[in-house]
Symmetry: C2
Subunit: 467 residues, 2 copies
């Protein structure tokens, strides 16, 4: 079939699928341009690529019915959580149906004694923690946005607590998944560990909707610590801050959060959040434990920091002060954006073995200066992961190119150090080439798996892999 | 082709492969019956099923050459670590070549600052910890046997420290794998986390040699804690002990080890290890942290235990006493076996959500009594995982049947509680039906992946899945 005939054929298939969905879902199926526009766009600089329609199921069975219909007509399926991804994950590159999971937002079963909970994919992380508050438990994974648990699972999200609690990789116990042919599977049981067969749970965590639609997630939970304290400490340079982080981890101090902000980022926060932080490379720290334990941890890290030249170590257990500090940290991206209201944020995401982190950041800062770009840095320094908030005027092709070149050099720098092009944002369609640079022949194994599980390439096509 | 002609054909292929291997590997290729017999047998009750030959490579490249040759002639390949598996993992069900990885036993690169190490698959866990001693670091995963890191990775092993440090699932950062066609891939980089593409690392962890041969493993390491203390506490019944474990975890106490032993097991240990432990349901505990932290943890758990009726809580930081205690724990299986020297051990391995653990153990103890079988219990109670050391006279078919029936009822009991048929031993060929009972339709996804990555079914055929 010629490509034009194929296109006409595809259009007819989509029309047919939409009419069928309309009959079943009524007002839960939308073709309104504004709706489509919204569902084709995430929070990144990637432009909207609207799906042909948006459908809003309420159950796993309905998701399965949608996928069966789409599979029959080879129409693409794009799962949608909150649209807070950063690599164009929800863009309908080949058209198709966006499955809006926002109304599948029930906490299904809380097992407080087992420290786990079963949720629908549209539950957001803040919603979950509100639900858990009275149980004395919490769910620690906190990407900046109030993302959905389904989206966080699909993108293998992490955030500021990962240094202690791990990422979605470590905290998803089991999944219900609708496969590319509509079959529904359960990837695992609720038990803490299992050696029973291939680890399908981990295969779907981070698969970005390309292998199936996640419709139920069983998560690990943690007891809310008896005591929490936060601290801020400034350093003469990035190396000293990173060395403090390395030593803290080597001593086995169970630090909960350890965030690095460079001078431009602290300056941006001071302007945006009306704080009065010393403009210097800074660590934001948090300790979880017993009252005595938290005090001991703080003291140990203070000693380590002062050996590395850390100064002005201030710590607090006051809830309000803590909230203000971490809100300022979570607003870092907005603070950066406010530095240049006409610019767009290009969030980068390399992660390296921690011994290379200082060098990677130092060389990148140098490169930012030489590239005459504005790019405050925040980093999950305990994990070796850091982000530039590259501020780019997309209307200026020359500047955009400079930003792209800077990004590429940074990724190659990270790969050369044994690192990854993405610590927590995922590949989407923004990092397809970087994935190949990073994984080489292993990408062909990913492609083999994709083709085996989704032979018609209808599940979020064009993401992660070029098929 | 008829099945007889096929067999003759296969025999010719094997002969050809062996002569080629002999030419390349010389004395590192053995067809001696005693060697073949040994390499076809693990530590379980499963009889030896010898491979046609055993070859001992020294490099990833040599492994790749062996696999290329076997693939060309469709001859099965069975990776061999230390032979300490428990579900017949190394049995050559369809003949073929056993790849003995014991001479690939080098620690390749230690990255102390990054808390990781790259090792060859034949390195054993004790060898690794001896190597690490001077670095102040250690690797915590400790199945009873001194297994190889390659085997532990392939079987998703865990052990007594998993409640704090996780299993091989959480502690493998990256792998080098020889695929079924001889291609070599690297599944990931050394960075602590990554969101770059499908999680191939976790796919190969627990794949039991059925998807490829693991030839390099990058592991997470931990700082040796400043202080370690151990404790023993007896309880009036299993429920009280399990409730203590649940509360300990809910309070977020970072306990390192929490092992349950029932009365028959304590009795067996007293006889075998010449200890003088009170014969009662008992928790063996271990705390890692700072001196003050370890003291605080011990006190908190003592309080929790005494609220549950725990008694005789004794704790120590004395290294010799601690070693004696944990050696006794690690010798539990041998102690059980000594109860009945003519019997064989049938080690079971269910794992359930912890809230169901007391009930699962209680019902199982009742079933053991009613079945008139001898089966001391040890459990990694923090993970919900427990083992029976079923002592069976294999020469008595009636008794063997009773043991098999008991095991099946226990697995079904665990599955009904949301548990798994294997917490850490794996499927091998001993639990193929249980895998299906546990995972249902998800097994077909495993099969799809297996067939896509090993279309000729040469990688450890007959394990995990019936193809």
């Amino acid at each position: 079939m010629g490509s034009q005939a194929k296109k006409a054929n595809q259009a007819a298939s989509v029309t047919h699928v939409i009419s069928k969905l309309h009959a079943q879902f009524g007002e839960r199926l939308s073709e309104a341009p504004a709706v489509r526009e919204r569902f084709g766009k995430d929070e990144s600089f990637h432009a909207s690529i609207p799906p042909d329609a948006v459908v809003t199921p309420h159950t796993t069975e309905e998701v399965s019915q949608i996928v069966v219909l789409c599979a029959e007509h080879q129409v693409p399926v794009i799962p949608y959580g909150t649209g807070t991804a950063l690599e164009g994950h929800v863009a309908a590159l080949q058209g198709g149906i966006s499955i809006n999971l926002q109304e599948m937002n029930q906490v299904i079963e809380l097992h407080a004694d087992d420290l786990d909970v079963v949720v629908q994919p549209g539950v957001t992380r803040k919603q979950l923690n509100r639900h858990l508050r009275d149980s004395g438990l919490f769910f620690p994974i906190d990407p900046g946005a109030d993302a959905s648990i389904g989206g966080m699972t699909a993108c293998r999200a992490s955030g500021t607590n990962a240094v202690r609690y791990g990422t979605m990789r470590e905290n998803v116990l089991a999944l219900t998944v609708v496969l590319a042919d509509g079959r529904v599977i359960q990837t695992s049981r609720r038990s803490r560990k299992s050696a029973a067969g291939y680890d399908l749970t981990r295969l779907f965590v981070g698969s970005e909707g390309t292998l199936g639609v996640i419709t139920e997630i069983t998560l690990r939970l943690y007891g809310i610590p008896e005591a929490i304290s936060s601290a801020v400490c400034t350093f003469p340079d990035v190396d000293s801050a990173v060395n403090t982080a390395i030593a803290t981890i080597q001593y086995g101090i169970p630090i909960a959060r350890m965030e690095l902000l460079d001078e431009p980022q602290i300056d941006a926060i001071n302007r945006y959040s009306k704080t009065d932080l010393t403009v210097a490379p800074t660590l934001f720290l948090e300790f979880h434990g017993t009252s005595r334990g938290v005090e001991e941890q703080s003291q140990m890290v203070q000693e380590i920091a002062s050996e590395s030249g850390g100064d002005n170590f201030e710590w607090t257990t006051n809830t309000e002060e803590r909230s203000r500090l971490w809100q300022a940290r979570h607003d870092a991206a907005y603070a950066s954006k406010a530095l240049r209201p006409d610019g767009e944020i290009w969030a980068t995401d390399v992660c390296v073995p921690i011994s290379h982190l200082a060098q990677c950041i130092r060389e990148t800062q140098q490169d930012i200066r030489e590239s005459k770009l504005m790019a405050p840095i925040v980093g999950h320094v305990g994990d070796g992961n850091f982000h530039l908030c590259l501020l780019v005027d997309k209307g200026d092709p020359e500047e955009s190119q400079r930003a792209q070149d800077l990004h590429e050099r940074m990724v190659m720098r990270a790969l050369a150090m044994g690192g990854t092009c993405t610590g927590e944002h995922g590949i989407g369609y923004g990092k397809l080439d970087f994935l190949v640079a990073e994984h080489g022949e292993a990408v062909s194994v990913m492609r083999t798996i994709k083709q085996a599980l989704d032979p018609d390439n209808i599940m979020n096509p064009g993401k992660i892999l070029r098929i």
